[in-house]
Symmetry: C2
Subunit: 219 residues, 2 copies
Amino acid sequence: MRISDVLRELHDEFPSVSHSKLRFLEEQGLIEPVRTAAGYRQYSRADVERLRFVLTQQRDHYLPLRVIRERLDELDSGRGAPAVPAPRAVGAARAQAPQGPTLDEVAERGAVSRELVDDLVTAGLLRPTSAGRLDPRSVEVVTLAASLAEHGVEARHLRSLRSSADRHVDLVDQIVAPLRSQQAVSARAHAGALAVDLGELLARLHTTWVRAGVSDLAP
Amino acid sequence: MRISDVLRELHDEFPSVSHSKLRFLEEQGLIEPVRTAAGYRQYSRADVERLRFVLTQQRDHYLPLRVIRERLDELDSGRGAPAVPAPRAVGAARAQAPQGPTLDEVAERGAVSRELVDDLVTAGLLRPTSAGRLDPRSVEVVTLAASLAEHGVEARHLRSLRSSADRHVDLVDQIVAPLRSQQAVSARAHAGALAVDLGELLARLHTTWVRAGVSDLAP
DNA sequence: TTGCTCCTCACGTCACGTGAGGTGGC
DNA sequence: TTGCTCCTCACGTCACGTGAGGTGGC
């Protein structure tokens, strides 16, 4: 894959990734794609998985690159579990891109057990398609669920969280519905952007209330 | 007030504020405290309100400092509404610090109408103490609610958001309760830190689900 | 041949943090 | 007198972004 292919594939899950960011990660020694005779970067499947690992650690755990590099080094030297998967058949990988990850892939990328993923599916917290594919954000869901599980929060505890999130999405849906049903393409595009903005505002309001509530728990 | 007093007062609402950050904001021309003969910075009430404005804009609207400075300049030159309040009696201000802001102060700092604040109180979304004081985070709540109101989301729509946040705080409460009831001071301190961490994880999980949901609304 | 993609290298930027070395206030 | 707080100034850091100027691929 060339650099633009990588950017396209990662864009859904990591919208902020850029050409200069990939170059920077390379300069910092986090990835090392091979080069063509002319100097073009050629990313393998394994490189893309490695990038996904780096970007996930940044986003979900706010780790600085220095720490992420150390973890990668440990994994490379075989002292840890192989959380960064080996390259797989290119054919299967190509078919997967537009469909979202499988349950196994989510477990792998989130470095969690397959059992946890199954538990989350059983509890209705992850919802695979009939083809067994999940939303790309499921990786974030499983890493957060794993952290919560360490403190004794189980999947069943999280059901009310999921259903309240569903209700808030419904609220957004009702508000943008009139726009979405219009015929003009611009109106429908605006409906999409508005939905994202409203969702963000609702999520932040919820976050603010939770923060205020928990800080009152232990003054 | 000296610099350490300012840091102490702002710490609850903005935990990440530091000495070097205040110096940096001064260097960038966002505030200009007067100096004592010996060169010590002396912050007035107006300076602290101005800082609160800057930090709120950063946190709630992700604005870069350059843009915040331009807004402040506009306000200073009187071309906009005086969103940065004039200095008030020091006596009243000193009494307010440990108690949280009043309804009027929240309206002022959030640059929203007093009517909106009253609506939020009526709907049970803001809960003043018997002394009429609110949580410092209420400023963030009202600015978010104002943005939502612009898109037709009213206070009554937000009730389920508030009650679901309450339930998630209850969940955290149940989990840390055993720790909090212990006698050792270290266990109680740990309970507080754990509550904050768990709240953060729950809030991020909720945010992830809302984001995934709204992005499905308009593909 | 012609866009388009990709390359390097140098420099810029944004928001601070760190530490040395020194002075002020109670 | 003695900690403690505060000061400046220079430099470092983290994670990129922005061009200029040039080459490769279909």
